[in-house]
Symmetry: D4
Subunit: 249 residues, 8 copies
């Protein structure tokens, strides 16, 4: 995949049709990528079976439809996140072929079958039923990125027994994504039970002094259990993405 | 304990030496308490065996010594809170007879033996060893106020087993004070295991995004377990005091 | 109520059909509760006459209706909180038999008569007329949990006389829930007049620098009167629940 | 006190030695004050008997001493605020003749006797003994500015009776400065008892969620009692100054 | 206006039909006001010509209409604040006779002519056209409370000339209410030009880092000009009320 | 452009019809501007070809239409900012002749051709497609103020290559406006690549812990690259305006 | 490693000396761990070659020395974090044999040689020289936990070239820890260049609006590059620990 | 200044001693700069006469001395910022030849005479005497970077006359740096008087609700005067640097 422009230039140098100083000058004005610098392009990601991603928040349905159309030409799988009910409805009319995931607030286009390339299992744990949409976004993201994904829902710390009963499932995962709102204590308890990486996702679930997820976010950042790392409030996608990278280390 | 002034006035009314309109007028200018309105004075508290309390924070050792001297004339027990090492040393020189509680940062003067008037046991639970000073302030306060007090320390949520092993002790308490810094998750877990009132005390233990206890405070206010109420950051005294009131309901 | 699985296993051990090492192994894989560990299940709560609770916030009317249907099979009383006008209207169509409490933003299903099991009276005090919905949620919660409940409304600190005129009612309560928005000063004044536990509930009433209840919350946490504990902003349910636990100590 | 430069210019215009266009031009380049625009200079303030003020915070003792020396030439009274113990000690050595007010953290130089020019009495009320330094700064400021000043200290809202017993003193003041830390509730209660202007001063007294006076500040801004206005945290000087202006309306 | 109950009781004492101890006891249970304690009731305010006030925020039009109906029986003037367009429209249908003030978001009922009882002029200054609704609330409040009120609008600090051109009007006022959003600098500049009390009103005008008026609020609290006191964000009513009290000192 | 009133007065002084003391007095009461003090009026700005600006936020379409009408009489160019879709639609009906810029949320009226008076090129850089509306506001502002403006969009720091490929365009600009939401890192990277003034504009793009642009704002204020200055969140207009002033230095 | 108590009990059941119901009862009162529940003990961690960790912050040197002494009996490696210069000096006197790491503010005791058990290389990247102490804490932690660790320091985003020159080193790591203060932009740029997990560590480096690391923390949480997870401010230990877990997936 | 390595490589290509594919490969592994990409190195800055800068905050005197020593070899001018009194004293002993600027908290080493390369005058304005250190840092920075710098100090908005008297100096500057603490209003007023770029520097001067400069920072970001841009709290260096860039546009 050498840059043709670069090869051409060097061949001209070789052939003597371009002098060295002129070549130096041209080199400086070549587009950066033509020089072949390593970069994380979507392509490297895509070769690993990762989908192309469209963040739906702040985009209109017609814009999303247009981006999907353009992407489909590249024959890659597509993940559209952060779609509310209205936007889903609009998108459904504009573009057939998308599969909608209501719980995750997302849509997917799977053109080539998803190969499992992640080593172990990604376990998505969540505290309460209201946290499920964020958890489902993580599930869908990790699935689309080629991981075996399992779920363990509604195991909040106020009823610690349900969590403990599932200790074997916690133990057998490779990476865990733990989603919780309110006081955000679940990741600490989970990380205390296992010795695997835990990605904590605070949610905006709560009211009053939850301050739209700030309470859960601070709780997770201050976790007394080592091994916990944190993503932005409600960022199920980011957690699923990071878990996928970890599952390939 | 009727106000003598009030009785005198009414007797003069009865005797006809003070006319009714004049009496109405005098009534209005009597000090409030002479009219015998119920009030929570220290006396009521003291009759229950509660100590008199001096908040040491922001007072100089010599001022505290002077207040102690004045109080001792009333023959009540005394609790001095929020004494740092320096202030304790200064106070020791100024006033013999005080007993110092280094862990709790407090001093006491026990003139009359403390009677146990609380019904059940107050259990003070704390998450980490750094939270112990705040826990000890609660222990001392509840003890001085006539309660049976027990302690369960170093049972943070990252090692949930130590907490679960002590489930019987949790169960047998009447009121629980649960002290924790960092993410402040312990009260939620404890309140999920029992059905007794839990008073949560956030501590300023932590660094960075703990923001001097704000993280723990928000976590506790957003507890997903019902029955948790919260006091100010590091307020072991307030928690011990509230637990004492509850233990008398 | 012994676990049948556990009994079976032990009987097989006794009968010699399961060897001890195998039994140890099977024990480890039994569900946690089968081992009979004490836990706060709803059942213990329910035996005390507590209702089952559905938090309506963030749930759709149809989901609430489904949960109610499932719960009714267990023949317990039900409390649904945080219903706005629209959700109430929707729920009314979906499910007959619920009783709606407009002021409290709640609905109840009372299948078995509520027995008074709380010892004394829970007094719900509120500062302004705008705080009434939160106060009513506390009233309804405490009532459903088997307490005698009284109300003292519209006694804000800017008109201290109305509060003082009701000093006898304050004095005769066992536990007090004090609800206030804006500067949140009422719990301090009330706690200074009595020697009973006071649960303070900040409300989001106010504008500008009230910051949606933050001002009242901070005021209550910094109360100069000992014995005050605090719950989340607008959390009338939590206050009523905690008061019920205290009223059983 | 006409500007001589302006008079000179106009006389030259009159005499015909300066042409009108040239005069217009010169007018534009005269210093602003030479044109006689009304301005609040210290002089106007001083004519009313107000002292000159030096804010000690952030200035070194030697700088303060130098400023005092310069001011003394103008024969005005002087008020130096925000002096801590060390700075007072340093200043004492550098400059004899200053009178130090330890409680107020201030020093004064009274060259001409202070005349009472304020109409009524300024009453300084404070909640706790720790708030006294801020209250004393207000007392000293208002006194130096020519007001009758009275004090009512240690009347916090947790013991409302002491405040109510002093209702006649509250009633007889013209302006009230009410100083309180922690939850900052006192100004609301006071303003509910009288119909005079109340200036509320939050103090940084407290710990934990008092956030260095933020809690008291927010409480006062959200006061449910009309007629309360607020100054910066610990700003006893500003409150005493504003009270003085009000007492001259 | 003596309490009949109190007079009756004293007459019975005099007549000997009630013994002194019994009288003491009855006195303690009389409602607080029957004992004739001074209190700021609306009546004192009303005797000064102050209107009764209804805060419209958080109340429904029908509730406001009902309160107005009840108040009218007392024949006092009425001021209803914080009415948005919809609530005004609803109220108009429910209750004829109210006069609506669209700019101020308020309604009034003037039953007895407003007498000017304030000594001087209250000047309402505002920075930008968007601040006018808050300023108008202050104007209406001060007018209804019997003050001569003048306005000086659109004199923001970015065009300091307009303000300086009006220096005589600033100078001739007794009390100033200065309304500004964004950086909230206007009160500092105004207070630097005059020596009268300045009440600063931050508004929520702005976007981004104005944080709904927090920026202006902090600016005003930190004013470098002495004599400035501050009310809550958008609290034109409170400023107008405080100005009225000051204008009567 | 001498003030006629001032000239008249001086001529009367010269003619002897006004005495000098009377003239001094009259001078003091002349409007400020009549004295010819330099001021930044719109006129100076307008002479430079700057448009008159109407901030649409918080104004109703009919008010904007009225202001436009008034301004058009002065024959200046006009820029209306902060128009949402609805307001644009309303304005379109009320006032023909305006040109609407949907991306920038703005409208313009260009009466006289815009002359390029800025020295170099203003380059507007933005990080993501969601930041484009703010960037477009800056583009339009700088264009209306007489600058050559170029755009470089969608060059966020997560794909640093696209930015580096455009290094020549960065280098050839005189002033740069760099617009970014989320972590707001782009201005630091850009300022590290060039040695021209960089004006950073944080946007409210993001969710959760972006706190409506606070995250980007703080990031930009703490830029590790010298030469970056910052404007308010979403303030594309302010950035375009400042860039125009800089481009004329 | 079966619990002897459990085996004994079952053997008694088998022998018939304990009846089944009595056995059920005894089972319930056995300590939790005797029942053999999986738990994350330090032992599991230690078997992987992880050291025992002492958090030095908030502990006195003599306490740390005592804990080290106790731990040494278990013959495990030890890592002591958060030691300032004074505490190191004190500790040096109290306990010989510790090795001090001044840059990392830590001490270690290596009893058994550290085996490399991590799969790939952990690369610690930091932005500025002031961030080095936090980076070194991460280096030391990851090293003690059995990882190959490399460093890439002083590659802040304001000089993007130094970072790009090291693209091969970035590319060849398995996990990256990226440490930065001020605007915290470095993790976003790094994560955009590679497709490996990036753990971002905000530092408290900065002043003014860095708010002790809040600015960097928010920047990292809002990273526009997927795959970034975040730990607490200055938490080099937590990042090194999480990286170690990831490097074993 | 062509990279010799690049030239060598191309010459080898030309000579046929390196094949094209091998050359492509080698190109990819050349250090980034060898490829001649434009970058802002210090060199470019230095060629313009800019000094090398050492940020003293967080560095020890001995480290600073070492960096100065290394830099002196390059014969460039040096600016060391953020030196407190102690660090200056230490540095004085370690390194002779530095010139110390006490007011600015800085030191300089001027090896080659500073040439004035800035076009116009940079005017540094500050509000109060406490703001002077920050202003002096800006003065020194702009001077070291080759600008004519003037100062206008102590012209706070509470005494607007002093500012207006200096209107001609404001008018004749090319760029203005305006430094203010407390409410931070000065930049708005200044920007309203002129049409030049204004860089606003908030300072941490103030107390209470100034929140260490937050109040001034927010005030400046919300400036109602267009053309104001802002730097970090107390960042005199950054303002002086940005002003220097602007003065070269």
């Amino acid at each position: 995949m050498d840059s043709q422009r670069l090869v051409n230039l060097l061949q001209q140098v070789r052939a003597g049709t371009v002098a060295v100083p002129a070549a130096v000058n041209q080199l400086r004005h070549l587009p950066f990528e033509d020089l072949g610098f390593a970069k994380v392009d979507h392509h490297r990601a895509l070769r690993q079976g990762f989908p192309e991603v469209i963040m739906g928040l702040g985009k209109q349905a017609k814009d999303i439809a247009a981006i999907v159309r353009a992407m489909r030409r590249r024959r890659n799988n597509i993940l559209v996140t952060r779609l509310d009910a209205q936007k889903m409805a609009d998108l459904k009319k504009l573009r057939s072929g998308l599969r909608f995931h209501v719980d995750a607030g997302a849509a997917t286009w799977v053109d080539k079958p998803i190969k499992i390339t992640g080593k172990g299992t990604v376990l998505i744990v969540c505290a309460g039923t209201s946290d499920i949409p964020v958890a489902e976004e993580a599930v869908l993201t990790a699935s689309m990125m080629g991981n075996r994904v399992e779920k363990l829902y509604d195991v909040g710390v106020a009823g610690i027994h349900r969590l403990l009963e599932n200790r074997l499932r916690l133990d057998s995962a490779s990476v865990l994504v733990v989603v919780a709102g309110m006081e955000g204590a679940l990741p600490s308890v989970v990380a205390g039970l296992i010795d695997k990486p835990v990605i904590a996702v605070p949610t905006s679930i709560g009211y009053g002094a939850s301050f739209h997820g700030l309470s859960a976010l601070l709780g997770m950042l201050n976790s007394c259990a080592a091994g916990v790392t944190v993503v932005n409030i409600d960022n199920g996608f980011g957690a699923g993405f990071a878990a996928s990278l970890i599952n390939r280390v």
